[in-house]
């Protein structure tokens, strides 16, 4: 995915594209967080790619973890939601 910037295409970073998918599938609050496996299934990405993207996004505070009966689940923070929305407005 890239956006044309005056003839010079700028690619949307992979982790941002991944963040958009997390947003669009609805992982936007702790109550609606998803497991690693659910995310891999929705995004159809290799587990290593999912892990790498999640780590990058958590480092930027765009994704956070919630614990559900000992299982890690992931959701987008408010900053993450704003980042996604900045793509489309």
């Amino acid at each position: 995915m890239s956006i044309n910037n005056g003839g010079e295409p700028i690619s949307v970073p992979e982790e941002i594209y991944f963040l958009c998918m997390l947003h669009n599938i609805g992982a936007t609050s702790p109550e609606r967080s998803l497991t690693f496996e659910e995310i891999a299934r929705w995004t159809m990405l290799e587990p290593s790619k999912v892990e790498q993207n999640l780590k990058t996004l958590m480092d930027g505070n765009y994704v956070a973890i919630s614990m559900d009966s000992g299982t890690k689940k992931y959701f987008i923070t408010v900053d993450g939601i704003r980042k996604v929305l900045s793509m489309y407005s």
Partner: protein, 388 residues
Amino acid sequence: MNICMLTWEYPPRIVGGIARHCFGLTRALARRGHSVHVVTLDFPGAPQHEESEGVKIYRAPVELGHPNFIVWVLIFNHFLEKRVAMLSRDFKFDIIHTHDWLVAPVGIASKHYLNAPLVSTVHSIEAGRARGIHSPDSRLIDGIEWWMTYESKRIIAVSNSAKREIEEHFRLPWHKIDVIPNAVDASKYNISVDRESVKRRFGIAPHEKLVLFIGRLAPQKGVEYLIRAAPQIIRVNPDARIVIVGDGWLKDHLWNLAVQTGCQHKITFLGFLPDNDLVELTLSSDVLVVPSVYEPFGIVALEGMAAGVPVVASNTGGLSEIIEHDRTGFLVYAENPNSISWGVNRILSDPGYASWLVQNAKRKIYEMYSWDAVADRTIEVYRRALEE
């Protein structure tokens, strides 16, 4: 009038200018005695239903998702439509008012089953945002935008340049489009701030001259040209600090660019800030730069003018209508770092001139850009839609 306002963003869900526009407009409509119902998307921490200053706000949760953005948009439109249908049991809406393509499907469906005219405000179009139609997604969005303009009884454009763009791109009759500019709540800038303390709070030294950018970090906002202008600004004004407020997918690219210019120590990225911080920071600024490449209106320029900060903006779109060059602000060439640095340096180097621009700008804001005036003109458009 019972007005159903459909928007994908409404505070605290703030993405760009649409949220601010809808917030200002709906409150002004409510002050005039109209019954205003905003149907929008949910946001973490915001109530699903509230009434604020006479405006009824309904935030619909989106209970389904899909990784594809366009499919997700269609899904959330479905949930908004269900909310409108529920409301229509209690209220007979006279007007359906949509803002941009993201809520076009719910607006069009509601128009037909509620038998009420559809009015659409077009804040920007895909062909402008993406600088052409270059991808299948863009073509789809462009098609939805055309559909919305076709189904709408009346179209509101936010500037004359936006009107021309919409008219030419969608081949619309000119008389179907009304121009109503955005506005600003100037009263929120009528506070006194301790500029030094505000600067310190954001890591800016009190003696530094604050060159402010506020906006989404997206290509259309042209932030990269301000960053490219940094070396020439710093050379003439060594005390200048460029402060970039906002977030977006371009952030890492922009940071790398700042490093490439060698001026990264003079450029601060603050990310997204809440409204009260934005007001204080704007009031503490020495110049506000709006370097947009594509800008049908440019509400941030109005905010700078209302705050009494000299504005340097690209001579493009709505910005060239808001700002009278060399009188109420300073217009520079878009996508041109030399021109941007020239404008910024002119302002920073001549405080008397900057102060004169600010006085002229403030007068213009109070005369032309109030939400009450925008509400009156919008009501006129509603009346025409009902009569036609």
